[in-house]
Symmetry: C2
Subunit: 256 residues, 2 copies
Amino acid sequence: MHWKQINEHVQVWLREVSRQLLLGRKQELQVATKSERTDLVTNIDKQVEKYLVAKIRATFPTSKILGEEGTKDKDLASSQGLLWIIDPLDGTMNYVKQRDCFASMIAVYENGHEKLGYILDVTAQKLYWGGPECGVFCNDERLPKVADLSLAQGLIDVSGRMLMNNYHNVCKMAQTSMGIRVYGSAGISFIHVLTGKTVAYFSHLHPWDYAAGKILAHAQGLSVKGIDDSKFDMLSSDDVLVATKNAEEDILKLLG
Amino acid sequence: MHWKQINEHVQVWLREVSRQLLLGRKQELQVATKSERTDLVTNIDKQVEKYLVAKIRATFPTSKILGEEGTKDKDLASSQGLLWIIDPLDGTMNYVKQRDCFASMIAVYENGHEKLGYILDVTAQKLYWGGPECGVFCNDERLPKVADLSLAQGLIDVSGRMLMNNYHNVCKMAQTSMGIRVYGSAGISFIHVLTGKTVAYFSHLHPWDYAAGKILAHAQGLSVKGIDDSKFDMLSSDDVLVATKNAEEDILKLLG
């Protein structure tokens, strides 16, 4: 399928998603916990996933879908046709506590290949989108390529949990860099690497956390690596590193 | 002196500071290091400090001034008249690497008492300002009081360095909270506590990093504490905790 046939629909859906998320953050949210006390889900996460799944099914009925909030079709690993991986609201904790610094993400695969990725920074009203066939854009403007900086030349974005446990020797990576940042939204962190604001982002991620960012990062000429290679199959969770090629090389040498 | 007499000038100066910082971030910067490799200063930091110092001296000639970039009048500790503590560009690393997430800050003391604080979030075009006599505003709107949440109910903002060294048992504080965030700008981190986006911010700070935020936090009914009380005299560096009263109580119990 031509990427434009998919893109024209997704761009329209994401405008509606933006509207729903902006409206939701003004309201009192129904907040529930999932795997642990700090793993939150709200009525808005569920509402947006429901909206996107309905749109995908109505427009591309043979699609398979994996969504953070429970959508999981059978035979996702089958490589035929369109596969959608969606995170309706990434950074739910930020959405609940800060009403800021959150994203909505969609990844599209076709016949097992990366097709299109979308990360919507709702507060900034910036949609980062693209893929191998069209390149990467921020809204209507093509995103400039980022400089291939080393770890020592830039900031690194990591998960707070990894830092506290010095997981994979991440403290040494942080000390080698120009400093660490922790934002609490994988989507926002991917945007920072895509735009050259950080040279790397390293975190334990689920497929819906990294699927869209991976497609965009590849199209930007950045490296994306699952530390446990065997699990990095677009349907499993892994410790994921997205970085400039130079920073990736530096980080892999430090990896514990 | 009536606070309005000072405020009408500072508001005008900060519009010019905003213009200079926005212009500067589009340009190639002259970047130098200070105490260490990651302690940066640019031509814009110096230019903005020079501008503010000239305006203060011309308008309030008997003022004493302490600025991050070298301005340091004699007898700062003398408690008579106006004392200005200024950070022309807070979050210089972010300014250089991200062109985002930085602030400009001004604190005004009169006869040793807190008078007015200003934190300008340049990217968001939001000026947080106020003091004990007028309350706290964001641009022209009065800032709502924040809920007195406990540590377990909110996010905590810490310095990455403290986290990596578990300084003062900060990892336990992070684990007790809903999560940690690291932004790399004291000004932006103070704003997050002032607006209830985080329940606490804990970092090693210089006077220009905390002076404005301390005045605003007090006027917002928040607690500000120097961990080494004897050094917390508005002219010394200290480990500074700004928090809701409940979160402060929780954090002090965990302090190592």
